[in-house]
């Protein structure tokens, strides 16, 4: 039998200036249940989440409906009573953890103020309890962290402080609004693990609002989809992913498990990067920041190399060096037989046109004073309205867009204009620097599909830089994983995604949340992950950069720098123990085959 719902929403509507943002939403959440709420930007998820706490952004108004929390209509209570129940009965975790914390108070103090607002505890008790909450959430040295100010802790820690504040007074219902947007994948997974574990342990219900269907597939028991303010789908997670009932989810999931079109097999690579190195001097000190360290790779004609890694791993710097937007300090870049690193003047300008780039922030990449026609035309030798219209058509935009300025386009359309400008120069290689990261899920699918189609039609190569492993999987033929400026593993998409060898690549891929409930992370046994913090790129350890965090660390790793090792099947791994373990496995299986 179903337990009584802990949260029951009936016909809840919220309006802004005569526009309805949430339209008669009704749903139930059972104790211990984690329910995902998804939908495109502007579908009303955040507004609904805030309305559950009786809050609306000005000038909105709750138009009607009930929010039954453990049987009592929360919205019918007087404001003073609602305030005392917020935090105690229903808690909220917002996005942008740093913005939600007061910069003037210690994080411990902020957790304590929540505790004292709801529970009859004195200062000493609340201080002890705040430290206990931080310890439970897996923070090292919680006593010291509790005394820190928000700017002294990392984004992941700030997010955990927010959980501590939200769960501190033991609310039965937690509303989490995009709690992991902007976090790196490994931190995101750690955070969601903690959130799910805390919810399960206390038997509270969680409403998790996110655009990322990967998070929903891996953590939620049930899924609801919002579109234009209405809940258009509500179902059990596995059934939902097996056959999404609504148009939005079907579109977003359309490219799931669809491998990119096969690359032509041409033995001569288009681009060869050898030993690429870039240091940034730090002003006011003799130290240097090592952004890129002896990076070596090739890209074939018509091939896509995915370059993944967390923020600060140097992947963007590699992309910029390929266009010499940043001057490399060492190494060579050979493009189509020409050495790019030595070219200058006119030769450089001509070569550059054959390597184009698409940036992360689509609005920033387009001159706000220029029309779309002028922007695309900039790549042509002379203005050519016919060719411009052709290019716009190629990226799926109508000719009427040509007269508009970038600001009046959606982010997805802006990114299409950027792509049109890039292909107008007739490039052989396009560096795609996180082109989908600033887009909504719907726009993202459109851009990924467009990039695949363009590659099939025009045959150019891509260097696809992203931290979003789902899109990397949908676009790349081969994948390189970067950590602290070095490539730690390089192999085909199947090799890296299905059996990563380097401990960092393993941790990254384990934190990858695929929109597929087949092997949910929440159901997987916890594996030994990476410990501690990323070392500072200014003071790097003498041996392997991962040695301080690696679960398989050996004593030699701490003193000996690791070299990239070639394995037989074309893969490269920067880890001696992993390479050795694998060659032993390969040898054993070969012996077995010989014996059998």
């Amino acid at each position: 039998m179903q337990p009584d719902p802990i949260l029951s929403v009936r016909d809840l509507s919220v309006g802004f200036h005569g526009k309805t943002a949430v339209r008669a939403a009704s749903f139930d959440v059972a104790p211990g249940e984690i329910v995902g709420l998804t939908g495109d930007s502007g579908s009303g998820k955040s507004t609904l989440g805030l309305a559950l706490l009786g809050l609306v952004r000005q000038p909105g108004r709750i138009l009607g409906g009930q929010v039954l929390l453990e049987g009592t209509d929360f919205l019918a209570l007087p404001e003073a009573e609602r305030r005392s129940r917020r935090g105690r009965q229903i808690g909220l975790i917002v996005q942008n953890p740093r913005g939600a914390l007061s910069p003037l108070h210690t994080v411990g103090g902020q957790i304590q103020s929540v505790l004292r607002a709801h529970q009859p505890v004195d200062a000493a008790q609340s201080s002890k309890r705040a430290v206990g909450l931080l310890r439970d959430l897996g923070l090292n040295d919680p006593e010291r962290r509790a005394g820190a100010f928000p700017h002294e802790i990392s984004g992941g820690m700030a997010q955990r402080v927010l959980i501590a504040m939200a769960v501190g007074a033991g609310p039965r219902v937690l509303v989490a609004d995009e709690p992991t947007s902007g976090l790196d994948v490994t931190i995101q997974a750690q955070f969601l693990d903690e959130l799910a574990r805390t919810a399960r342990a206390t038997g509270s219900a969680v409403l998790l609002m996110t655009q990322d269907l990967g998070i929903i597939a891996n953590y939620c028991d049930r899924v609801m989809v919002m579109q234009a303010g209405a809940i258009v789908a509500d179902g059990e997670t596995r059934a939902f992913f097996a056959a999404p009932s609504d148009e939005y989810s079907r579109t977003v999931l359309a490219l799931r498990h669809a491998p990119p079109p096969a690359a032509p097999s041409d033995p001569a690579p288009l681009l060869q990067v050898d030993g690429l190195t870039k240091h940034f001097p730090l002003s006011g000190s003799k130290k240097v920041l090592q952004a890129v360290d002896r990076v070596t790779f090739e890209i074939g004609r018509g091939e896509t190399l995915g370059l993944v890694g967390e923020s600060g791993s140097g992947k963007t710097t590699v992309g910029r060096c390929l266009l010499r937007l940043i001057e490399p300090d060492g190494g060579t870049i050979t493009f189509d037989g020409h050495e790019l690193t030595r070219a200058s003047g006119k030769e450089l300008r001509t070569l550059r046109r054959r390597v184009q780039i698409v940036f992360q922030d689509p609005l920033d990449a387009l001159d706000p004073r220029w029309t779309v026609a002028a922007i695309v035309g900039e790549a042509l030798d002379r203005p050519d309205p016919k060719r411009t219209a052709e290019l716009l058509d190629l990226v799926g935009l109508g000719p009427e867009v040509a007269r508009l300025r970038p600001r009046s386009l959606s982010a997805g359309a802006q990114q299409r204009v950027s792509i049109a400008r890039a292909i107008a120069a007739d490039p052989a290689l396009i560096v795609l620097d996180e082109p989908t990261s600033a887009l909504t899920p719907l726009a993202r699918v459109g851009i990924v599909k467009l990039l695949r189609d363009l590659q099939a039609r025009l045959g150019m190569s891509y260097l696809f830089i992203s931290h979003d492993l789902n899109t990397v999987e949908q676009l790349s033929h081969r994948v390189a994983v970067m950590y602290m400026g070095q490539i730690v593993e390089l192999g085909t998409r199947e090799q890296v995604f299905e059996a990563p060898l380097h401990p960092y690549a393993r941790a990254l891929l384990a934190a990858h949340l695929a929109p597929d409930p087949a092997a949910r992370r929440i159901d997987r046994p916890r594996e030994a992950g990476l410990a501690g913090e990323i070392p500072s790129p200014i003071d790097l350890p003498p041996g392997c950069y991962l040695a301080g965090r690696c679960p398989d660390v050996q004593s030699a790793c701490r003193t000996t720098p690791q070299a990239l090792q070639h394995l037989g099947d074309g893969r490269l791994v920067r880890c001696t123990p992993a390479a050795r373990a694998r060659s032993v496995r390969v040898e054993m299986s070969m012996r077995e085959q010989a014996d059998g």
Binding site: L50, L53, L55, R57, Q58, P59, R83, R86, G87, G91, L92, I93, V94, A100, S102, S113, V114, A117, L162, M165, A166, R320, L323, L325, R349, T350, R352, R353, V355, Q356, I357, F359, D361, D364, A365, L366, D367, P368, R369, I375, E378, A379, S418, R421, A422, A425
Partner: protein, 306 residues
């Protein structure tokens, strides 16, 4: 306090703030705009529409302006077109010149000099600022230090020295003020250039093989001009004050041209005898104009930020 309450509180406060600030700011912006428009209009047509000749003394010497109580009746007379004695709205000065006419004719000198000087320094300053922002760091730094030195001169004394050396003509004042104001525009444009030059469309143009000067003039400069244009409105106001000030101390416009600073100086001796009108009306004209330009510039800035 929970995160939600903080968030909601902050959003509410922002809304209220924006709501309260807008009407007053808008009113000042439109008032300022009206003053700017009127001053520019008078700069062009002022000397042609005045009721009395601004250079030929009349017979009525030191006549006070009409009493406030009589003003409506006089206005009715003027509007009906009934024949009446010549009216000196602001009175006459010790030479018998009509002060109202001279106040209206003065923008031909004051506003023209201020606008001309600012146009000159806006063009020079933004080009130098563009150069300083796009050049190698040490070249940029050197340009900025030179600009600092120019800016460090005490404006008034420099102006007096330059006018003394180069002679007293309107063009000298324009050049003096332009030289002194250029560093302001250099600084503003450079800091905006530093922001704009690292934007995506600049790198995209580089990737398309565009040359650095082309990128600087077509992409960076147009996007970096807004703060300098806004500053121009405020600076024109101050330049009007400066022109009047230089004239007041005898280093500006030559008498007997109608000019607010000269008029204040000429009337200064009469004030001690209680004859306030020869100085007060041009003084009011300066205050209103400077305030109008500043309010207009402020409004522009707010609009640009929004």
């Amino acid at each position: 306090m929970s995160g939600a309450e903080q968030l909601d509180g902050a959003l509410l406060a922002l809304d209220l703030q924006a709501h309260r600030a807008r009407p007053v700011a808008d009113l000042l912006f439109y008032l300022g705009g009206a003053v700017v428009a009127l001053s520019l209009l008078l700069m062009v047509v002022g000397p042609w529409i005045v009721p009395f000749d601004v250079g030929r003394p009349g017979d009525d010497i030191m006549q006070p302006p009409p009493a406030l109580a009589d003003v409506p009746a006089l206005l009715v007379q003027v509007l009906r077109g009934t024949p009446h004695d010549p009216i000196h709205w602001f009175g006459t000065d010790s030479a018998g010149l009509d002060i109202f006419s001279r106040v209206l004719a003065a923008p031909r000198a004051d506003v023209a000099i201020a606008v001309g000087a600012n146009a000159f320094s806006l063009v020079m300053g933004s080009l130098i600022g563009l150069f300083a922002g796009m050049a190698r760091p040490w070249v940029g730094a050197l340009t900025m230090r030179i600009s600092d030195i120019v800016q460090a001169f005490p404006v008034f004394i420099t102006g007096m020295v330059l006018v003394t050396l180069a002679g007293r003509s309107d063009l000298t004042i324009v050049v003096t003020l332009a030289l002194l104001y250029t560093p302001i525009y250099v600084r503003l444009t450079r800091s905006e250039v530093l922001t704009q030059r690292s934007r995506g469309f600049v790198d995209a143009a580089r990737a398309l093989g565009r040359s650095e000067p082309w990128i600087a003039l077509r992409h960076v400069l147009p996007n970096a001009l807004a703060p300098a244009m806004i500053q121009a409105s405020v600076t024109i106001g101050f330049a009007i004050l400066m022109t009047a000030g230089l004239s007041f101390v005898g280093a500006g416009v030559r008498p007997p041209s109608p000019e607010w600073g000269l008029m204040i100086a000429a009337g200064a001796n009469d004030i001690v005898q209680g004859d306030w009108w020869p100085s007060v009306f041009p003084g009011l004209a300066i205050s209103v104009t400077v305030f109008g330009y500043a309010a207009f510039g402020n409004g522009l800035e707010r609009r640009n930020a929004a």
